[in-house]
């Protein structure tokens, strides 16, 4: 039997993985990677950290753990894969099963024949078609070339002010990389909050942390155009006509699947603009598979198609493709729950499953949520704060979403939640979950389990919650609400909201009933630092006959607006 010809277009995450996996399963195949960029197997999620100087060795982004650069020689010698960098695929000729290519530098045309083709062209940065977008100083952060440019900006202090357009994962990571290098950084975000995968309160908490580290954030602010002189960027003009003077602008307004070749070849493209694949990652042509940022995948919670341009999913999909092209369709990629995490200085922020907003937009009409704030471990072990929001579908009683921000161990919380969602765990199961506990790692009742307990209390009607957003609404409407802070004097001397709240420490409450509103139907909102004592105060008030008592979820530490102290 003749050796199978496997050709992979794109040699970054998904493509390189597919090629390596296919090789392990088929030692005879001829495997070729066609790669437009000069580099292969780039650790692109590491770009912001190289820019920010977390490490200095550029090769670390391109090398194996033992320091061998994954160039053509590496692929040839250790994997018997022919990798062809700086070669651009320009046409897929499905009839003759061949790919037409052009040398990026040479301009020389060539042809590569295939039995099975793997399409891993990734995604292109979405750059708004505004005036000045081609000025020197306007960049994205999607390639090693971009990375080298920004690394130089930081290392050689080539800019005093950088404007970052777009407050998604990359935008936020770039801000950190630049501010750490004492460059002035302004983040411009069109919508009302950064990090769209978070609900507003959570996103505001993340933004507050960025601001505390010196990043200026302008939300609800749109880019008009880039201004320049002699071909060089001099400023970013906003929709309102104002100009932010800057030498560098990083456009991080998202990516679009790179499907041109696939579309030209007549492969089915989905409504969201990605290549359509089945569960085996097979395109509409059974001889062509696709993986990575260029495809659409199923959202396992909504059942809808979605775009999920994430490096981890690209690798997992590449593995599935590698096996299926080598052996026929044997394994499948079920889809994604859109798990994401992002380092924000000494904070982390992330989400898995659906946000409350996404859930409601996708027809979940019986959703209950809670915001919970608590330490990640005991105070005596150096506790750090976690603030999370859990989303429960009360019809199925299952967890469908979870968000977490804070300087505590967010990563573990999200991993816990991601597996709980993928396992279809019910709220009852979460409430009794058996997680790894020891004081160096968690509280006796882990933050995640506590979040489950609180939302269960809400669902059972024992806790009436009110969000910080709603409280802010009451305040702006000047509603007559009695705000009760259940903490002690030492505490409110160092930290307090200043929204006209009454200080009534929980332990003293029963002795100072005369300070409470006379009318038992008065609207009362209880809270404390994290609203545990707020919850207990509410129980006492309910018992005293008050009919309209709510607890502000997450307490003062989850309050995303300005505080008095």
């Amino acid at each position: 039997m003749q050796a199978k010809k496997i050709v992979v277009i794109g040699g970054s995450a998904a493509g390189a993985k597919a090629a390596a996996k296919a090789r392990r399963l088929d030692q005879k195949a001829e495997i070729t990677i066609i790669q437009r960029d000069p580099e292969l197997s780039m650790a692109s999620c590491g770009y912001p950290y190289y820019v920010g100087g977390v490490f200095d060795n550029r090769n670390a982004l391109l090398a194996t753990p033992t320091g061998v650069v994954r160039g053509p020689e590496f692929f040839q010698k250790t994997k018997n894969i022919k990798a062809l960098p700086e070669l651009e695929a320009v046409e897929i000729d499905r009839k003759n099963k061949r790919v037409l290519c052009t040398g990026v530098k040479t301009g020389v045309s060539s042809v590569v024949e295939y039995d099975k083709l793997v399409y891993c062209t990734g995604a292109n940065a979405k750059v708004p078609p505004v005036a000045g977008k081609d000025l020197s100083g306007v960049t994205t952060l999607v390639s090693m070339a971009d990375t080298d440019f920004l690394h130089q900006v930081v290392a050689e202090k080539k800019a005093s002010h950088v404007v970052v357009i777009g407050g998604g994962l990359i935008g936020v990571e770039v801000c950190e990389a630049l501010v750490n290098s004492s460059i002035e950084v302004t983040l411009v975000e069109m919508s009302s909050d950064i990090l769209a995968f978070l609900d507003p309160q959570m996103a505001k908490l993340a933004a507050n942390h960025m601001k505390s580290k010196g990043v200026k954030i302008l939300t609800e602010t749109a880019l008009e155009c880039f201004k320049g002189k002699d071909g060089k960027l001099t400023g970013v003009m906003l929709r309102d006509g104002s100009v932010l003077d800057c030498e560098v602008a990083v456009v991080a307004t998202g990516v679009v699947p790179n499907t041109k070749l696939a579309a030209d070849a007549g492969l089915t493209i989905g409504k969201l603009g990605g290549v359509v694949v089945d569960e085996f990652m097979m395109t509409s042509d059974p001889n062509i598979y696709a993986a990575g940022d260029c495809v659409e995948v199923k959202n396992l919670i909504t059942g809808q198609q979605s775009l999920a341009p994430m490096g981890d999913l690209a690798n997992l999909q590449g593995r599935v493709v590698g096996e299926n092209i080598a052996l026929g369709n044997t394994i499948s990629f079920p889809g994604t729950i859109h798990t994401a995490i992002c380092k924000i200085f000494d904070f982390a922020a992330g989400a898995t499953g659906v946000s409350e907003d996404t859930a409601r937009k996708n027809g979940f009409d019986a959703v209950e949520t809670v915001v919970n704030a608590s330490p990640d471990k005991p105070g005596f072990m150096g506790a750090k704060l976690l603030i999370s929001k859990i989303v429960i579908d009360t019809k199925s009683n299952k967890i469908i979403g979870y968000q977490c921000v804070g300087n505590g161990d967010v990563s573990r919380q999200l991993a816990t939640a991601a597996m709980a969602i993928q396992g279809g765990l019910t709220l009852d199961q979460l409430c009794c979950a058996d997680l790894p506990y020891a004081p160096p790692y968690s509280l006796a009742i882990d933050h995640f389990i506590a979040s489950a307990h609180i939302v269960q209390n809400k669902i059972k009607g024992r806790l009436k919650g009110i969000s910080a957003e709603e409280v802010m609404g009451q305040i702006s409407r000047k509603e007559n609400v009695f705000y009760l802070d259940g903490r002690g004097p030492d505490e409110f001397e160092v930290l307090r909201l200043g929204i006209g709240e009454h200080y009534l420490p929980l332990g003293a409450l029963k002795g100072r009933l005369e300070e409470l509103p006379k009318d038992k139907d008065s609207e009362i909102v209880c809270f404390c630092k994290i609203s545990l004592r707020g919850y207990e105060a509410a129980i006492v008030l309910n018992d005293l006959g008050y009919t309209n008592v709510r607890v502000m979820e997450g307490g003062i530490v989850a309050w995303p607006y300005k505080r008095e102290k």
Copy 2:
């Protein structure tokens, strides 16, 4: 209606939680906690860290996060719970629904009546009935009194040598606490390995780390008795007659459920010696519930009864009891998967589900496992090592166990695995799991998912694994095996096994075939630092017609025996 009288025997984790939860659900009930110790709500899992000087404030073990000591006043004022410390329950009179008590210091008898009784007496340290066990200097670490004693030993350097008897969680934590204080520490363990929840290879890796920090470990070593002079400990005599001179010995040979009162009152006690409860945590008397270290709970994997004296489970059970005694049986505690984690200097070690050993002993006859070693995140982000073992039941294709050790983020790995087990995730699902990925937190293919990939390769027959133990067996039997280390010269100069292996870097393998055994049926074992290149070398050899090639799982870093370098 008259207020319900709720009485709780035991005011540590489960009891205090049950009382607090009951109070939130029933503001009218009379709630009383009977507590033998002087303290309430002790954070007993924190004892070793106070002993070790991780923090100096003793009250931190007894206080709320805001620093209020959870004494009787706290319980009264903030929770309206009557807490009676230093009062010992001496008899449960079920007929008259009352508890007979004696003041610990006063000796005064009293009676407390109940409608619902909660039995949370915890567990007692198992102290072997050997000569000298009552000598001054012989202690356990289960109470504040023990903690105070050991804290003083460390703080005032009252011992030059301490012997710890028992290499379970507490024993290991005590070793760290003492060695950090530059006391000589010897750990004596009766079985062949410490930390019985780990399979031998994993336990040996943890032990190696302890030894590297200066702890002397004697396994397969039994205690004979304690030697003393003038009532003071002078040494620990071992079964072989040798004596370890020491001033202090810490007995940490496990705990037994404290069921005396329950048994005397005729409540059903299980075969393992714990109080028998149903899923509502109700004992054989419908007016008596029990929770915490004194009960038996269901092992959710084996279906068998088990003892699980863990602080987190005690709290979760206490919450269930609190709700059920307040409202009638409404929520249940399903059981445990025996999740545990333990800090060992800058290592962590833990497990969830069943070990391979436990699985086989419990009738799982189709178990596949793999040992996987890999970094927790990219090298450029400061990678640290994780070594784990995953246990799959190939009949159901589900994960039933996971162990992890290393200085990487073990906590996240275990939380991931614990939720995967509780969610009943199949191996196929694990292989495509969507976990939080960003370079500061994980590899693009997370260590946990990689473990799933490797065991799937084994199950599909693509990888024939051999454990380090088996290799050690071959060596001791002087079998004729060709060991192939697939790393480069730079690498084996700094780290190598020295078991007569041949160095044939993967990239050079095909050019140096003459160095391989002539006989294609020769036994060959491939490995490298973590055995990824070992795996690829095995694939090449198989393709060359070698019939008897295996990969040493986990590679050199998972080798638990002495290395040449």
